[in-house]
C-alpha cells in the first residue's frame, strides 16, 4: 500500500538507532501528503551500508501547531514510506 496526495498520515514514533531522515520534531505527528517525490532506497538503511530497494518518498505537510504546539505556518518534510503509517 502506498500513499497518495491528500492522504492523512502519521510519522512513526520508532526510535531509530543511528542515521534517520525522520526529524525528531516530526515523530508521531499527523500530516497530509502533498506529493509523491519519486522512489529512492531508504537513506536510513543506506547509511548502514544496506543495499535496499527503492520505496516511495513523499512531501508531507504538517501544521506548525501539530509539530511545535504553536504557530500558524506549516512545514513540509520529505519522508520515505517507511517513516509513515496510516492515520489510525
Amino acid at each position: 500500500m502506498t500513499f497518495a496526495p491528500g492522504d492523512t498520515v502519521r510519522a512513526r514514533t520508532v526510535d531509530v538507532a543511528g542515521h534517520t531522515r525522520l526529524p525528531g520534531y516530526a515523530r508521531g505527528a499527523r500530516g497530509v501528503v502533498v506529493e509523491v517525490a519519486g522512489a529512492h532506497p531508504l537513506a536510513d538503511d543506506r547509511a548502514r551500508g544496506l543495499d535496499v530497494p527503492a520505496q516511495p518518498v513523499y512531501h508531507v505537510r504538517f501544521a506548525a501547531r501539530e509539530l511545535f504546539g504553536e504557530g500558524d505556518h506549516s512545514v513540509v518534510v520529505e519522508l520515505w514510506h517507511d517513516h509513515l503509517e496510516g492515520p489510525a
Binding site: D15, A17, G18, H19, P23, G24, Y25, A43, D44, R46, A47, R48, G49, L67, F68
Partner: protein, 93 residues
C-alpha cells in the same frame, strides 16, 4: 532519542545571519575537502548517507565546535579508517 544534528524545533539558538555575497568557499582547503568527498563517493568507497551518518557520529563537543567543512573532513577520516582505506591517524589536516 535524537542525535546531535537533530535540532529542528529546538530553542536557544541565535538567529541565522546571512553573509552578503557569500563566497562558495572561505578557504582553499574547503574546496579540496568537497572534491575529495565527491571522488570517494563516486568511486563507491562510501555513499552519501554513510557520509551523513559519520558526521552525526562525531563526538558531540566536536560536532558543535567544528565548522561545516571541518565536520566533512572529520567524517571522511572516520569512514576511510572504517573502510580500511587509511590507518588511524594517517589522514591529518
Amino acid at each position: 532519542m535524537s542525535r546531535v544534528n537533530d535540532v529542528g524545533g529546538a530553542i536557544g539558538f541565535p538567529a541565522v545571519v546571512e553573509e552578503p555575497d557569500e563566497p562558495r568557499f572561505h578557504h582553499d582547503w574547503e574546496a579540496h575537502v568537497v572534491a575529495l568527498n565527491g571522488a570517494l563517493i563516486r568511486r563507491g568507497v562510501y555513499n552519501l548517507d554513510e557520509f551523513r551518518d559519520a558526521q552525526e557520529r562525531l563526538p558531540v563537543e566536536q560536532f558543535r565546535s567544528s565548522g561545516y567543512y571541518e565536520r566533512w573532513f572529520a567524517a571522511i577520516g572516520t569512514l576511510l579508517v572504517e573502510k580500511g582505506v587509511c590507518a588511524p591517524g594517517e589522514l591529518a589536516p
